[in-house]
Every structure is written in structure tokens, then in C-alpha cells.
Chain length 353, copies 2
């Protein structure tokens, strides 16, 4: 990877802007909060503890770069964006955000992170947009924070998947969807490590994180929301998922078939008829980004089965800072019109930039 | 689905035979064994218990058809194969097979199931082939059973994913790989419901089974095997996974990237360097079948990223008996040569029919 990182991609060299739509950040205090949570065994989540023990203490060059990138919404990050040809980054509080904290801490740190982000972004308003961090631990407060963030100019909300093993398909969280729909602002469902009652066999072979566990947990979360009928209750709600849709585009046929069979069998009390099929919701209410998957076959497959209007570019900075990947995506065999949608205009529409 | 099932597809109407490569069966006694295991709380596996409580007792027409299909390696199944244009079915002991049983019971029932299958198939040798059921609970016995099944004319072995939460990447199971490699016969890694330490949030919204949980658990199992270096130790071993490769083809780029990053970071003792990349193993040692995913975009994507020689047709009988799906796959926009590979010759090569 070191060799590829020496590629430099200029901004402004193509007939489109490059907007990267799933880029992580955090105020520096967050990493110290995680250290306290881990050192004092405050979070009953083996995968979270293992991952951040690694990220906080690893001497590796890659991890040091990640931590430097996370806490910068200024010169360091801008320099890397310049070298990768990224015109604008949409910033989200890095996973798991506040979702491992106790309720009151989570609510207050989410607000702090949003204020910090807005303040930092003001120095370079052309280069950054951001999403509102929320604490699902307090759904009413989360709904209010979405409104407050929107008033501050943030462009949607981010949820870093499960909150202490709980999922947004539980109606107790639906105030969050209600607030987002009312403001016509999207919710980005970002990965997290799987909770304790899912991570067991993934951890045993190092599969809990970005290599696999993130995707299966987040894909499951999105499916839970779809199957629960959230988009029947909130038909104008839009959601965004990364990593080429966490493989849900690959599964559209099987999801529709088995959802229909599952509903018909009445096996599950938690799987009732919905107004539309899973693939219809995926093509009507959900957008995907390509964070971490700079791979033409996968991207074009997703465009084929979801539509070119539903696939947005993302880099996944600072976790996957690869200017060479940007150069490669520039060269995809794709019409100029579709490439502009991919890199620029889809993001402008979804996030109202 | 009922409407589609009235489509009839003749055999012999195309310039290829249709060989369905992941078709479930069981001797009738297996269902009674499961009933005993469940009624007497003998298996500490909530997803298994929930699924077979449903399959054993559901009055639904679909489930009745499934159970009739499972126990038939004769007229009932042949009639359905005739109506769907299936020339030959490769039969595997239905999931979870013997892998929920205690060791001695598992070893003896696997042998019984293999003898039963061989005996039934003899009545229609042109229409059926079968794989050897094994009990990973006793790896040495499983290795011997692969040899015995091979001598009886069976065409490989089937493992229904985890065995009481244990995975084949544990070297204690590697006698199984050694036996299969020595005989140059494939191992089919078939799905099962996820074990207790993975199924929690999947069960809450009905996602434990074929709609999603099967795939993420089996994809994980295959990844564990790849990352553990099994194909470095057994380079001539071939394995087969169903359901369009349990989404691993969709993830090839990300798997390679994050595997490389994970190895480089030395985060996991269980993730050491391997001789080749995950995608190289997937294109060199692994074949996939399309069980349950009769969907042209997904199939062609898999052919594109793995190669047309690595993608085999499967129906997933009796769980997904859809003659209309066969008719649809006949009409895929694909060269005659590739279609013959897909329906016939790839299977003949992989399973040495």
C-alpha cells in the first residue's frame, strides 16, 4: 500500500468534482474517552474493546496516520485531500461514535462533536460538509439533535450501527426516523463491530472489522429496518449505507424471494407483510456509497441493479487513504454523465450540498 | 410463488444437460432425530431449535412439500426434476446433517445416511449423484468416511458449516482436508444457521436463515479457512460454496485489501501471512454454485470476477423448487458455450461425474 500512496491525483483535472461521502473524523477527546472505557472495562463488547485497544496503542504507521487523519478537519486532512483529488469530504463522527457511552455522556458528547465539527468546517466551508452525530440511547434527544444539527447546516445524521446491541428497527427509536423525514435529511447507517451476541466466531479469526464483520452487521441492521416496515411508516425517509451497500445489492433477488417466503410462512412475529419488496425499498429509499470498495466490477454491478442515481463515491478516509484508488476510479469504463453522477451530482442531491 | 411453480420445463430441450449441484435430501429418520433433540433440549443452539421447530411442525404447504422432497430419492423427486428440466441432481445430506448430534451418534448416522443414499441412487443411477456426509465431531472418522464414501461412488463430501460452534479452520479438523485432497475430491461447504454466539440479533428479526444468516455464517466459515492457510497446506484441495459464493465474490476487492492490511498490522495472532491473496484462492481452489439465486445479474457478475469455469448451476431443491427459475436461466444473455459450462460441464469436471 505504501507504494500506491505515492500516486498524486490533482483536483480540477476532470469534468466533475470529487465528493467523498463517508469520511471519518473525531474531536481528539473521543479517543481518550475510548481509552477510559476500555481501561476500566466499562463496555461489555469484546469486539469494540479489541479493536480500540489496537487502534489506541498500535505503533504501526498505518494506525498513526489514521489517528492523525481522524482528528484533523484542517491542514493535515486538506493536504491529503489535495493529494487525492478530493474536492469535498462529507464528515461523520467515526464509529462507534458515542454509541458505546452511557446515555448522558453520549447525548452531551454528540452535541459537543457537532459543535466542534461545525466550528472546524467554517474555516474551509468549500471543502467540507458534515452529518449530525446522535445518541440513540436517548431517542428524543437524538431527534432534537438532528433538528439542531440541521439548523447548524449539517446535511443529515449518522448512526454507527447498533447501540449496545440494540437496533433502530425497535420502534422506541423511531423518533429518529421521524425527525429525519420531517427535515427531508438522510440518515447514514455506518458500520460498527458486531455486538457481543454476534461477534464470537468472527473475532476468532480476525473477521470482526472492516474485512467482513462490519458489513454483515450493518447489512443486517439495514435489513432489520427494511423488514420492520420503517419505510412504510416513513415513506419519504432516505438512508445511506456504505461499502457498496454492505452487499445488499448482491442479495436483492434472494432477499426478495426469502422475504416473501418468510412472510407467507408466518414463522416470525417480527416479519409481517410490508407494502413493498426489499429491492423496491433499496431502489426507492436507500442510497449506497462505495467507501473502501474502489473496484469497477462491484461498482458497476451496484449501478446496474440499483440504478446509477443511487451509487455515490466515498473514500473511507482516514481508514483507506489511497489516492491510487481515486485515479483508478477516474478511469472506469463509464459514460461521462454517469461518472459525474457517481463522483458529484448524486452526492449533491442526496445531501443537498 | 405458487403461480410460477406451474411452469414446466422439459428435459432435453437445450444443447446442454442441467445438473443441479446443491440438492438436499435426508433419510426419514433424520427428522425424528431432530425432533428428539429439540423436544428434549439437547442442542444449545437457539437458531437450530427455532428453525426445526418450525420445519417439523409448520402446517404450511411449502414446508410439507419440502419435507416430502427431502426424504425422496425416488419417484416424487424425479417427477419434480422432470417438471423442472433437471437431468441430474447432486444430493447432499440436508443441513445441519449430523453436526448437531453427539459424536458417536453423528459418526454412525453419517454412515447410515451415506449407505441409504447410495442404495436409493442405485435405482436411478443416471439421475443422481451424491456427496458423502461426515461428522466433523470425530475428524479421524470423518476422514475415513470420505474414503469409504469415495469407494462407494460418492463424488465429494459435504460439511454443513459449523459443528457446535466450531469451524474447520481449527487444525484439529485438517485430517478432513487431507483426506479430500488425497482423493482429489471436493468438499462442499453448505450453510447452517449461525451458532449461539452469532445468531442473537439475526433471530430478533427473522434473519437467521436463508434470507441472510446462512450466507454470512457460511461466508465467514469459508473466509476462516482461507485466512488460516488451509490452501497453502493443501494446495490441490477444492471446495465448493453455494448461493453465488455466499457473497464472497462481491467482496473480493475489500477482502484482499483488508486481509493485506490485517496481516501487515499484526493485530491478530490468527491472521498470519498466506502465500496467495483471498481472491487468488477463490479463483484457484474454490467453486461456487448458484443455489437459490436464479438471477442473471448476480450470476454474470460472479462469472466476471471468478471466471466462467468456476460458477455452477444449483437449484437448492427442495427448499427452492421453482421450475420458472430454470426457464429464466435458460434465457440468460450468455454464449452457448458458457451456458453449457454453467449448467453441465463445470459440474462434470468439479464432481468428476
Amino acid at each position: 500500500m505504501a507504494a500506491e500512496a505515492t500516486v498524486r491525483v490533482p483536483r480540477g483535472n476532470k469534468p466533475y468534482k470529487r465528493i467523498a461521502t463517508e469520511e471519518g473524523f473525531c474531536p481528539p477527546e473521543l479517543l481518550e474517552i475510548y481509552r477510559d472505557l476500555i481501561d476500566n472495562n466499562k463496555v461489555d463488547d469484546p469486539a469494540f474493546n479489541a479493536m480500540f485497544r489496537f487502534y489506541l496503542d498500535s505503533p504501526s504507521e498505518r494506525v498513526r496516520q489514521i489517528n492523525n487523519g481522524l482528528v484533523s478537519v484542517g491542514d493535515f486532512r486538506l493536504s491529503q485531500m489535495d493529494d487525492a483529488g478530493i474536492d469535498k469530504a462529507i464528515l461523520t463522527l467515526t464509529s462507534p461514535g458515542v454509541q458505546v457511552m452511557e446515555k448522558d455522556d453520549a447525548v452531551s458528547f454528540a452535541a459537543y462533536a457537532n459543535d466542534w465539527l461545525v466550528s472546524e468546517m467554517k474555516k474551509n466551508p468549500d471543502r467540507f460538509a458534515g452529518l449530525t452525530a446522535i445518541a440513540p440511547q436517548d431517542p428524543a434527544a437524538a431527534a432534537r439533535e438532528i433538528e439542531r444539527g440541521h439548523a447548524l447546516g449539517l446535511k443529515g445524521a449518522v448512526v454507527n450501527s447498533h447501540t449496545k446491541g440494540e437496533y433502530l428497527d425497535d420502534p422506541k427509536f423511531w423518533e429518529i426516523f421521524e425527525a429525519a423525514e420531517a427535515l427531508n435529511t438522510p440518515i447514514y447507517l455506518h458500520p460498527q463491530t458486531p455486538p457481543k451476541n454476534m461477534s464470537g466466531p468472527l473475532l476468532e479469526r480476525g473477521l470482526d472489522g472492516a474485512i467482513y464483520g462490519f458489513a454483515v452487521e450493518t447489512g443486517m441492521h439495514m435489513l432489520r429496518i427494511l423488514i420492520a416496515g420503517v419505510f412504510d411508516r416513513f415513506p419519504k425517509l432516505t438512508m445511506v449505507i456504505g461499502h457498496n451497500g454492505e452487499a445488499l445489492p448482491f442479495w436483492l433477488y434472494r432477499l426478495d424471494y426469502m422475504h416473501r417466503a418468510g412472510v407467507a410462512s408466518q414463522r416470525y412475529d417480527s416479519m409481517k407483510p410490508t407494502k413493498r419488496t426489499i429491492s423496491e425499498y433499496m431502489r426507492g429509499n436507500v442510497y449506497i456509497t462505495t467507501s473502501g470498495v474502489a473496484w469497477e466490477p462491484g461498482i458497476k454491478f451496484c449501478q446496474q441493479v440499483l440504478g446509477v442515481d443511487r451509487v455515490l463515491y466515498a473514500m473511507d478516509y482516514p481508514y483507506q487513504y489511497e489516492p491510487a484508488e481515486v485515479a483508478k476510479l477516474d478511469e472506469m469504463d463509464m459514460s461521462d454523465e454517469d461518472k459525474k453522477k457517481f463522483f458529484q451530482t448524486n452526492a449533491e442531491k442526496v445531501f443537498k450540498l
